[in-house]
């Protein structure tokens, strides 16, 4: 729609076909099936090449190409499309158009179940002490009660880590996610020095040994940061791989206590990972006095916290685990 508006301003006659195509594209984007479209689209291009050789031989099938054309190709020419590293990195850097991902953590609910930590470490192939998300014990002063606070990358809108990276290995996407490309990272750890939230980890040694199922797909996906690599940085990715599939992040759905809300700021809607209840983001923040970590630093985090008030459970100091490196 925006495109047509602009062309009218220039005084040109709007092209009806263009409007049609534009609105169809917008519809598809809203439906969120761009990933599937690009996959089948590439398959279609591949298949079209073979079609020239075997014209009219087989049953035809309709598919959508990447530029939203509906085309027919022989059914037996369809092959599964497997994105390569180059394509994964390109789309991983671009992000998902039209989205502004946001997370809200209700600290009144957190009992330090650490299911978010486990789900995250399992998805990203991390050792038990390698955290993308870590539940911390917080205590503001002697007279205030301690509480649990899951802490991860804050996906700042003004990220200090991105500013200092010398090689563009860590970057900010259009949907608000800060990612790290471990095929690019030189391991200088400037981003770790710059991050006030201590959100980043470094692979000081070879990453965790993988099970057979984990080594199934060795192609590096920048949206999952798997496989991890020695001598590079890793960090929370807001489960960008799941968001592309239209699902909630690993930590969000793993929580048994309803701590995590996740959604799109543009839609002003967030969904609770435990109850699957959807709420208006701005209302949730307003009614519960939502805040962000260290706003005085000007980092503009995309993660909000709801204060740990009216907790319905006793605080229990967790044991300190022993780790060997």
């Amino acid at each position: 729609m925006g495109g047509t508006g602009a062309s009218q301003e220039k005084g040109k006659k709007p092209d009806p076909e263009k409007i049609l195509e534009q609105s169809r594209r917008d519809f598809l984007k809203r439906a969120g099936i761009l990933g599937a479209v690009s996959a089948t689209g590439a398959a279609a291009i591949y298949a079209g090449h073979h079609y020239e050789k075997s014209k009219g031989k087989d049953k035809m099938i309709k598919v959508l190409t990447e530029d939203n054309r509906l085309v027919e190709i022989p059914a037996d020419q369809i092959a599964d499309f497997k994105p390569d590293l180059k394509m994964l990195q390109a789309r991983g850097r671009e992000g998902i158009a039209g989205k502004r991902w946001v997370m809200i953590l209700d600290l009144a609910k957190c009992r330090n179940a650490r299911k978010c930590v486990e789900a995250c470490q399992s998805a990203h192939q991390l050792r038990p002490y390698e955290y993308h998300i870590n539940t911390l014990v917080m205590k503001e002063s002697v007279n205030t009660q301690p509480y649990f606070m899951p802490k991860q990358c804050q996906h700042c809108d003004n990220p200090p880590c991105v500013s200092v990276c010398p090689v563009d290995a860590t970057f900010k996407r259009q949907d608000g996610i800060v990612l790290i490309d471990n095929e690019r990272c030189i391991g200088c750890r400037f981003c770790m020095a710059a991050c006030p939230y201590s959100a980043r980890i470094f692979h000081w040694q070879e990453p965790k040994e993988l099970t057979a199922s984990e080594t199934d797909n060795p192609e590096y996906d920048v949206e999952l940061n798997v496989p991890q690599k020695k001598g590079t940085i890793s960090k929370c990715l807001f489960s960008a791989d799941l968001l592309r599939e239209g699902e909630l992040p690993y930590c969000v759905t793993a929580c048994p206590n309803g701590v995590f809300w996740f959604g799109d700021e543009n839609e002003d809607a967030v969904t609770n990972g435990t109850t699957r209840e959807t709420a208006v983001m701005s209302e949730l923040l307003k009614n519960n006095a939502g805040y962000r970590l260290m706003p005085e630093l000007g980092t503009e985090p995309r993660i909000y916290y709801l204060p740990p008030k009216n907790r319905l459970f006793e605080f229990q100091q967790p044991e300190n685990p022993e780790f060997t490196i």
């Binding site: 200092v164 010398p166 030189i186 391991g187 200088c188 400037f190 770790m192 470094f202 001598g231």
Partner: protein, 447 residues
């Protein structure tokens, strides 16, 4: 540097000076033994680096919280020490001080050696040194690392050029006086002296080139250490979040560099028997220079520590307490008292500006300067804004490992190798400038 292009030599004086100064240019047994010792030491350190390449940075004491440690402190120390080339040759030279002439080359040797190896130290800290070319292929101008790589390289090239250009007349003097030296050395002098024949036009060009280099080196030296300080100051962390880090680092650099030059001067005076050229008077004067730069540095230290200590903002307070009365107190007071305040008092006394006592004071100050970099880099990371919890003990307190120390020493050995080669193959005191000096005093008799 003199603006008088009609430089002329009193031949008797030139013969004496060149005989004295080229005497040290030789490849003897002690040189080979010393190089062999350095080489063996370096081989052991390179093995340590090999284990780091093989196993990763896990061989160091670094962790996810203190992720910069000894290597980075060492890097800052190297960059700092190399700045002395700019202070002595450029600042004092351009102002017109004549007494610095015999020590300019020593300052340049220090500058070249430390600037050259600073880059290697940074590589030893990289998780993926194989991806070093990415800094040039994908470099982002927003990153202070990109600025650092650019200016350190430029400063090294300028310092090397200054070293070489001021060496050309000496090479020309030396090429006919190297009897009994290995053939390759004579050949090298012949090629490197670019057919310099001491005519006035050549000197005119030479002086102009030196002047341009001296001027260019000033902003570049300011840039390298200011940018190095910004590697810390741009991060929102208590202990680094300071607006005076640029001048604070710069003033500290002059202390470290001047002390290093004094140690080198003493070594050459003793071992190369150059007390006629590196006189007590030179030590006295550079001792006064050391006093001046130390006083400026003390002033910056007062600002850097006492202002946050007065306010005691939450995280600044943790940092300050660690230094003043906590885990780092001994090291902190060593750097401040033994490394700065006591030397300032001692340097006021003329007898202590004699060669040996001044060198001992300088040695303490160089050690303190190194520890000071460690105190700037490490403690600020051990107390981040959010608590360090549920992590291995290793991540909580940083303790350098033996492997890490060996790799750090390795880069120092490379510096010593460069200094040794430069000072054994070429005269360490500029022959032509020293020989011409007396002529200028008795100019009336010549012109």
């Amino acid at each position: 540097m003199s603006s008088n292009h009609n430089i002329s030599f009193n031949s008797a004086r030139l013969e004496k000076v060149s005989a004295d100064l080229f005497r040290t240019v030789r490849i003897n047994k002690s040189f080979m033994a010393w190089m062999g010792f350095l080489g063996l030491g370096l081989a052991a350190c390179l093995y340590a680096y090999y284990t780091q390449l093989r196993d990763g940075l896990v061989v160091t004491g670094l962790g996810d919280y203190t992720s910069w440690g000894m290597y980075i402190a060492h890097f800052v120390f190297f960059v700092a020490t190399s700045l002395v080339g700019m202070l002595i040759s450029s600042v004092l030279g351009l102002i017109g001080y004549k007494w610095i002439k015999p020590i300019t080359r020593i300052a340049e040797i220090i500058a070249v050696a430390f600037a050259a190896v600073a880059g290697l130290v940074i590589i030893s800290d990289m998780g993926r040194p194989d991806r070093l070319p990415y800094v040039f292929l994908f470099g982002r101008v927003q990153s202070p690392i990109f600025w650092d790589v650019t200016v350190v390289t430029t400063y090294f090239v300028l310092s090397l050029l200054l070293y070489y250009v001021t060496l050309i007349p000496d090479l020309a003097i030396g090429r006919t006086r190297l009897t009994g030296r290995p053939g390759f050395l004579v050949k090298a002098y012949d090629i490197l002296s670019v057919r310099f024949s001491h005519n006035p036009l050549q000197y005119k060009i030479l002086f102009r080139a030196i002047r341009i280099l001296l001027v260019l080196i000033v902003p570049m030296a300011f840039a390298i250490h200011t940018v190095t300080s910004w590697l810390f100051a741009v991060n929102p962390r208590a202990g680094w979040d300071s607006t005076i880090f640029g001048p604070y680092f710069l003033s500290g650099a002059f202390v470290a560099g001047t002390a290093a030059v004094i140690i080198a001067m003493y070594f050459y005076r003793k071992n190369y028997r150059l007390s006629e050229y590196l006189t007590d008077d030179h030590f006295d004067k550079i001792g006064k220079l050391l006093f001046l730069v130390s006083l400026v540095y003390l002033y910056f230290n007062l600002n850097e520590y006492l202002v946050p200590a007065y306010k005691l903002k939450k995280f600044d307070a943790i940092h300050i307490r660690e230094l003043f009365s906590g885990h780092y107190a001994v090291m902190f007071y060593f750097t401040q008292v033994a490394g700065l305040i006591i030397p300032l008092i001692l340097l006021l006394l003329k007898p202590l500006r004699r060669p040996l006592p001044l060198t001992l004071i300088s040695a303490v100050m160089v050690v303190a300067a190194w520890l000071k970099r460690y105190l700037i880099v490490v403690p600020a990371q051990e107390h981040p804004y959010l608590p360090i919890q549920f992590v291995p003990e290793k991540f909580v307190v940083y303790t350098p490992t033996i492997t890490e120390t060996a790799i750090t020493i390795g880069s120092l050995l490379i510096v010593l190798i460069i200094i040794t080669i430069l000072s054994k193959l070429f005269p360490v005191v500029p022959v032509w400038e020293v020989a011409a000096e007396d002529d200028e005093k008795s100019k009336t008799s010549i012109s």
